[in-house]
Symmetry: C2
Subunit: 222 residues, 2 copies
């Protein structure tokens, strides 16, 4: 089977995806991945690797407080997803959102957010997080870009905010590791479900891949 893809070109999209997942499974197994083969954390991890071709996520991706079940249940009940970038929002599966009665939102480009950020001399990401928590206090919050959004979120978590799930996967070199570690420790302590990509790696495509994997799981169980 292993050299099939070299000799015959697979062209059917569903066949490409299933062959890709087979390859990912084989390589995860060869790495001695720490996941049981049938659980939802593995489903999420596979989708992230499918999106990045980066097996580092097998070591980096961390789940606390039954994060995957919390995310799937929330989506099955129509909870919205709020992203920190329009790029992440653009990648979220419309058909799955529609099927579940869920929705995706991003406030970072809203004029009132820009205005509030200027007045408060902070980032738009901070004010967008504040707006998200005000309008959708029980949302799934997916942060793939802005560590400042996570620092803001942490203050609200300390004050009692209870999002359905935090997806904390910004990418970068400055403040990023610190923001993700603080979010992870705080969520763990407060019982807030969270999926965190530890270390520098992450990004909008990673946030989207996790959201979509949860959406697909929710539609499967619907």
């Amino acid at each position: 089977m292993s050299n099939d893809s070299k000799t015959t070109r697979i062209t059917e999209p569903a066949a490409i995806e299933s062959r890709s997942m087979e390859i990912i499974n084989e390589e995860l197994r060869a790495r001695g991945a720490r996941f049981a083969s049938d659980n939802r954390e593995l489903v999420i991890l596979r989708r992230v690797i499918h999106t990045t071709a980066d097996f580092d996520f097998a070591d980096n991706l961390t789940f606390v407080n039954s994060a995957t079940d919390a995310g799937v249940s929330a989506l099955a009940q129509g909870s919205p997803i709020v992203t920190d970038t329009n790029m992440a929002k653009a990648g979220i599966s419309r058909p799955a959102l529609v099927r579940l009665g869920s929705s995706a939102h991003c406030f970072v480009a809203d004029p009132d957010v820009a205005e509030a950020a200027r007045e408060a001399q902070t980032t738009r990401a901070v004010m967008a997080m504040r707006k998200a928590l005000r309008l959708h206090p029980d949302a799934i919050l997916a942060v793939g870009n802005a560590p400042t959004a996570l620092f803001e979120l942490c203050e609200h978590l300390r004050a009692g905010a209870q999002p359905a799930l935090v997806i904390a996967v910004p990418v970068g070199f400055v403040n990023v590791v610190e923001a993700k570690e603080e979010t992870l420790a705080l969520c763990k302590e407060l019982g807030v479900p969270a999926i965190v990509a530890r270390g520098r790696k992450g990004g909008s495509t990673v946030a989207t891949a996790i959201a979509n994997a949860l959406l697909y799981e929710a539609t499967r169980t619907k």
Copy 2:
């Protein structure tokens, strides 16, 4: 300087970006990166690493036929960028596009593309590439997702198509390496400027990072 980010939190966006680029420069230098420190290829590479935190791109990212100069010149003259996903399009800098009189397009979700793909029993990515080459024959074509879009592009290149620049950076496990190698070899042979992420890695954020790096270079020289 190296542990500044641990002791003092840098919060100003421009300062965060410049500190990030310093860290990337330091690590590229430590790896003995093959780029001269002041050229445009290094500028593009740094932006890709900034977006992925993945130094593999220092080995994978390949430029042929004066790709960066071709891309910057085309954008300075207002050439459009066509992406293969709406996610990639969503990440492209609006202010830079406006400033240059350029524009970004993605046809993959167009009803006529979906209809044509159904009729021809092929992927929407193939028909979207065909539409892109018809409407914008001199565009910058940025492919971050669909290897089938690259196979289609290769047929048009053989038939004489001459896009301003090909950005070939799909991510994945099936057909992806083959599609990028075929595109790279063909562009090299035909004199078409191309930027290719060899191997499995790439994605929408990588396509967007390259497009934005070229846009920023074009606005700097304007």
